[in-house]
């Protein structure tokens, strides 16, 4: 089944400074949408608003034709990878898998994953940055949700794992829609099939990568 997430009219201000002033985006199952933008432009805020954990009066979030105020409360619509580690540190990887993943099929997949099976007895605090990010994303993609929001999935991740994470997104996009953001624009571009640049509070669809230069997001000559 194809699912559709529509986000419109997202506005938010912090201390009277307007951060977002009317963002629109549409994500379907199979889409990987990359969001780029400078520090403090509202990328993470946008993801949190879509997820439902950041409040704003102005927003319109619709999934499969139904409007939601806080989609995360339903547990089967959206998952969100925050910028910082979010897993309990004091329990083993195996235990996290067993309490977090409801389906036995999902649990089997994680337990038998070639990159995880040697770490099952370890605690989260014993994983490297790349291993941890990979494990977090593996958990989220195996949840029974329709859309995944990834906030800085490549942050603190060694190059080899960045490729692995891109492969993971590609593998699961047949059943889910992805919205991802990171400062690592090279990998965001590699993983996404549509790019949106947030600038001046508005999400601008990027048709040609050279536009990123015109909007002063990357230095001139990067793509042209």
């Amino acid at each position: 089944m194809r699912n559709l997430l529509e986000v419109d009219s997202v506005m938010i201000s912090f201390d009277e400074r307007k951060i977002l002033s009317g963002c629109y985006l549409k994500c379907e199952t199979g889409d990987v949408i990359g969001i780029l933008g400078r520090n403090g432009c509202g990328k993470s805020s946008l993801l949190k608003i879509i997820f439902g954990t950041l409040f704003t009066y102005n927003k319109f979030i619709r999934i499969n034709g139904k409007v939601y105020d806080k989609p995360y409360r339903y547990g089967n619509l959206i998952a969100y990878l925050p910028q910082h580690d979010f897993l309990p540190k004091n329990i083993s990887i195996q235990k996290i898998i067993s309490i977090y993943i409801a389906s036995s099929e999902g649990r089997e997949k994680l337990i038998n994953d070639s990159r995880l099976k040697n770490h099952l007895k370890k605690q989260v605090s014993e994983l490297s940055g790349g291993e941890l990010r990979y494990f977090e994303i593996m958990l989220l993609v195996n949840l029974d949700v329709k859309f995944i929001l990834l906030d800085e999935p490549f942050s603190k991740v060694e190059p080899l794992y960045k490729e692995v994470i891109i492969e993971l997104i590609k593998e699961y996009r047949s059943t889910k829609g992805f919205i991802i953001t990171d400062h690592d624009y090279v990998n965001i571009i590699a993983a996404s099939d549509r790019i949106i640049l947030i600038t001046e509070g508005i999400g601008k669809p990027i048709a040609d990568l050279a536009e990123l230069e015109q909007w002063n997001y990357v230095p001139n000559g990067t793509f042209s």
């Binding site: 547990g75 329990i91 977090y100 989220l140």
Partner: protein, 91 residues
């Protein structure tokens, strides 16, 4: 519910010592009252202060802060009720 228990266990690590101090000063009823009220709120505040990011672990499974704290409150009430039942049986 195992995921809620994971949250509840973390709250207990703060709630029990906090309520124990109350109980040590004012007696067992104060311990039990604190365990269900102040102790719970203080431990939830502690979690918010030191493990805020970890809430996303529960959010992704559909558990809001209110749900988590409510379940913890109910669990505390059950524990206190069990305590009363057993102490009546013993006496």
């Amino acid at each position: 519910m195992r995921i809620v228990f994971n949250y509840y266990k973390i709250l207990l690590t703060v709630n029990i010592p906090f309520s124990f101090i109350f109980g040590y000063i004012y007696g067992v009823p104060a311990f039990l009252a604190s365990f269900c009220t102040f102790g719970l709120l203080i431990s939830a505040f502690y979690f918010e202060l030191y493990y805020k990011q970890r809430y996303y672990f529960y959010f992704n499974r559909g558990f809001t802060k209110l749900k988590l704290i409510s379940y913890s409150f109910v669990a505390n009430i059950i524990l206190v009720a069990l305590f009363f039942t057993f102490s009546k049986l013993i006496h």
